[in-house]
């Protein structure tokens, strides 16, 4: 237990909790994932594979809990018993990239025999302490004491709107190449560390109640995910603004945009409404409700974690100074029914190559491929359509098909430097998906293929018969197994 000595010095506050000196072994396994992301710039191939390790928590039903980040874009996942070479392949049973959680099921159920699954412990509050468990190479358990600094709604790696999270202070030695690590208190699972900064020795953890909610959803074998409201809002502290929107004396937030397909939009909320309460919980001017457990907590937790998809929603709003109650049903449509998906892990990018012109359907993953500065580096039209899609592409059926690059060949002479062009029409027919494009092109055996784009140069033309004659030649020249994946 050398970790203890090292840790004693950094833990500033101890609530006097003493760990039961149970044998905690048999509650965690090492998880090894082989990762191979899709190559968004060469959608017909994958990138070089690499491995990721993390510590998984064994759950009572013979399942293992990890962060979704650990197993995103995996080719395979294996479990490894601490201190032994025994391995077992595992399958992902449920995964949520927004909540950053995944449940693994070992292929051989008997692999976890003898393991004592950890049950979920109670929610923590700021000031509580817990332990972070890591596995040493030799299978020994390394337990580091952690202090919960904050409990609040914050950004998750793949969810900007945010969920409840714990801010933790803990000194973690680097043992694996990921910080997927369980947060344990009194031998119960109370959270999952997902991000950690070695310099500040602070990290964030997914709280137990998030994990609980994830389990409950996954239990019936049909994972639905966390609902979303589908509104943009702004705090209402400014008395001048309150007066302008005829808000009552105190409380409430101002709705600045409503997605008509979302939970709030279908319940009848409008731009300019002041949301005073949700589910009978009053909101203050900053959008916080008083959580019975955590105290003032951001609305995100109230509308995304407490309800489930399909449960009833109840809003108290003030519209033009008149209070009214609006009801609806929580769902995810504002997230899922979009022209350009934000998340696309584990999803093969679709593409279609015609006469060397490579068309793709726009996704957040494609834009992310441009790196941290994607908003500056990616083609600006694509950035605009993605970032302001509620204004620019509100109809989820109208996917964005674009010319991503040109594989140079004699047939596309003069077109070879074009890229990032959004396709609008082919031979006069509007194109709203790659499948539609394929259908239109397949119907053209001869004559012109006239591609019309949103931006300069506006029009590119190929000869259909010539395209047909050259497809195989181009495919071979560039070593592409398939010229389309729709």
């Amino acid at each position: 237990m050398k970790g203890w000595i090292f840790l004693g010095a950094v833990v500033l506050v101890s609530t006097g909790w003493t760990a039961e000196q149970d044998e905690p072994q048999g509650s965690v396994v090492r998880v090894r994932a082989a990762i191979q992301p899709y190559d968004q710039f060469r959608p017909w191939q994958k990138k070089a594979p690499y491995g990721l390790n993390g510590t998984g928590v064994v759950l009572p039903g013979g399942r293992v809990l990890v962060t979704a980040a650990l197993v995103a874009n995996r080719t395979e996942v294996g479990l490894e018993k601490p201190g032994s070479a025994e391995k077992c392949a595992a399958e992902v049973e449920a995964i949520d990239f927004e909540a950053n959680l995944a449940v693994l099921r070992p292929e051989r159920a008997e692999f976890l025999k003898g393991f004592k699954g950890l049950t979920l412990g109670p929610a923590l509050r700021a000031g509580d302490t817990a332990e972070v468990w890591q596995l040493e190479r030799n299978g020994e358990l390394l337990r580091s004491q952690a202090e919960i600094l904050t409990v609040g709604v914050g950004r998750y790696p793949n969810d900007e709107a945010g969920f409840l999270q714990y801010g933790v202070r803990v000194s973690l030695p680097k043992r694996d190449d990921s910080y997927t690590l369980p947060l344990i208190r009194e031998n119960q699972l109370v959270g999952m560390v997902m991000m950690y900064d070695r310099d500040s020795q602070e990290g964030t953890a997914i709280p137990g109640p998030m994990i609980d909610r994830f389990f409950q959803d996954a239990a019936d074998g049909k994972y639905e995910g966390f609902p979303t409201l589908g509104v943009s809002w702004t705090p209402l502290r400014d008395p001048n603004l309150r007066e302008e929107v005829k808000a009552p004396k105190s409380g409430g937030i101002l709705v600045t945009r409503v997605n008509p397909r979302g939970t709030a939009g279908r319940a009848g909320l409008q731009e300019g409404d002041v949301i005073l309460a949700v589910e009978g919980m009053k909101l203050d001017e900053d959008g916080n409700y008083r959580d019975p457990l955590y105290g003032p907590t951001a609305i995100g937790n109230l509308v995304r974690v407490r309800p489930t998809v399909g449960s009833k929603a109840k809003f108290l709003v003030s519209r033009g100074g008149k209070e009214m109650e609006l009801t609806g049903t929580y769902d995810r449509r504002a997230r899922d029914e979009v022209a350009i998906p934000t998340l696309s892990f584990d999803v093969q990018p679709s593409y279609l190559v015609v006469g060397g012109l490579v068309f793709q359907q726009l996704t957040g993953a494609y834009l992310q491929e441009w790196g941290d500065k994607w908003t500056e580096r990616a083609p600006q039209r694509l950035v605009e359509l993605f970032s302001f899609q509620q204004e620019k592409r509100p109809d989820p059926q109208k996917k964005v098909v674009f010319l991503s690059q040109v594989l140079p060949a004699a047939i596309n002479l003069g077109y070879q430097h074009y890229s990032g062009l959004v396709l609008e029409k082919v031979n006069g027919k509007e194109i709203h998906s790659l499948a539609e494009l394929a259908k239109v092109l397949d119907g053209l055996q001869e004559g012109n293929m006239i591609f019309e784009f949103m931006d300069d140069p506006g029009k590119l033309v190929l000869d259909a018969a010539e395209v047909k004659a050259k497809q195989e030649e181009i495919r071979k020249a560039y070593g592409i197994a398939e010229l389309r994946r729709l």
Partner: protein, 498 residues
Amino acid sequence: MIWLLALAIGLPGCGKHAQLQEAKKNTVMVEVSSQVWDYRMPWNPGTVSSGRGAGFIVAGKKIITNAHVISGARNITVQREADPRRYPALVKYVAHDCDLAMLEVDDATFFKGTTHLDLGGIPELESVVSVYGFPIGGDRLSVTRGVVSRIDYNAYTHSGRESHLAIQIDAAINPGNSGGPVMQNDKVVGVAFQGFRGDVAQNVGYMIPTPVIRRFLRDVEDGRYDYYVDIAARWMPLENPAMRKYLGRPDDGRGVVVTDVFSEGSSDGHLQKGDVLLTIDGHPIESDGSVRLEGKPVQLEEIVERKFAGEVVVLEVWREGRAETVRVPLKPADMFSMYEVLYEPAPRYVLYGGLVFQPLTANLMAVLSGGADLRLKQKYTMFASDQLYKETPEPVILSAVLPDPSNVYLRGLAGQIVREINGKRIRTLQDVQPALAVNGGRTVIRFEGDARPAVLKREEVDRSTPRIMAQYGISEMSRTEVGQRRLAKGSLGGNEAK
């Protein structure tokens, strides 16, 4: 080859001495104190800095230098190699778009012992040129020699958006060389003006060739500088056989196709998308967009570049299966002027309750840079290509919120694009004050996108104004006059900037 090269360097050997004498007599050191406007605080006169460049005397007792040497000048002195005195000089004309300026010196004694330098032509590739100037490292005239390495279109970085013919030489052009003559065979063949900074490249310098200098001299003959004209249309090479067939053009390697025509530009109403340009002023256009001029291939824009506002370019156009002759009267592309870095004109702004409104300019973007949000950045980058100027000729930005107790809740709104004030659509800065004057107890400012509106109480603004002016040392609450600035007109909405 060796002999030829030796000849090229050796022949002017005797002339070289004469050239050096002439250069010594007519190259001047230009020392400038300049003031740079601060777009963060547009009411401030800005910071003063000083710099040094070079210039040379041309016929008519005029001095040619770079625009960037004298931009924002508050005081200019010139000094010759043979005369220790410094003479005050004034800017007669400045052309920021081609980085040239003309100076005048009142004191006739300055010109005693000077002659003037004559302009030559475009030097041959691989021929040797001499660069005269006052670069860092000393105070006396410096001479370096270089070989002409490339003659091509290049960005003129001073303007921020222009490209013209430039000549690359392998002599380094350092600060202080700027504005100095580059000579060959006793004649000026260019004005040294820019190089590469840092580790990007070595021994690369650029000079402004004589066609650009001559154009400047001719432009100012009428007593003012009128800017370059722009055809304001985009075209693409017509290399693809299927595209040629589609447009009904034989495979003769000629013509380019018009892909965009900019509203308010020269070609607006004259050219159309899909037009195939076959000849320009009688010069056949190759399918890559080049024409032959004096036996050398140049981009077809060079024909336009050499013309002046009000002149016409004649195009033979293939439109809907027929050849037509189209005459395009040329004018500057005022609608793109937002991308021009501004030097002399004072920044325009309107202040209201600590809220600073400024028109979107290259200068403002430069100070906002990383801090600008995506919506603003996109507005800026797509302003020309999406012809956004039709709707908003001059987007107005809430560029800053000067902290005051009256605006504590508004600080997060800095950087937003103003859409309307008190229900009035804002298309240029000139719209701001009339909209603010609309009577009512409250002023409501709405922005593009889903930002919250800013709401100010008139009485609070009235109370806070003197306080804010005192606190931030502001003497004027607005500066809106457009002056000589060229702005987009905007074809929608009818709010015209005067």
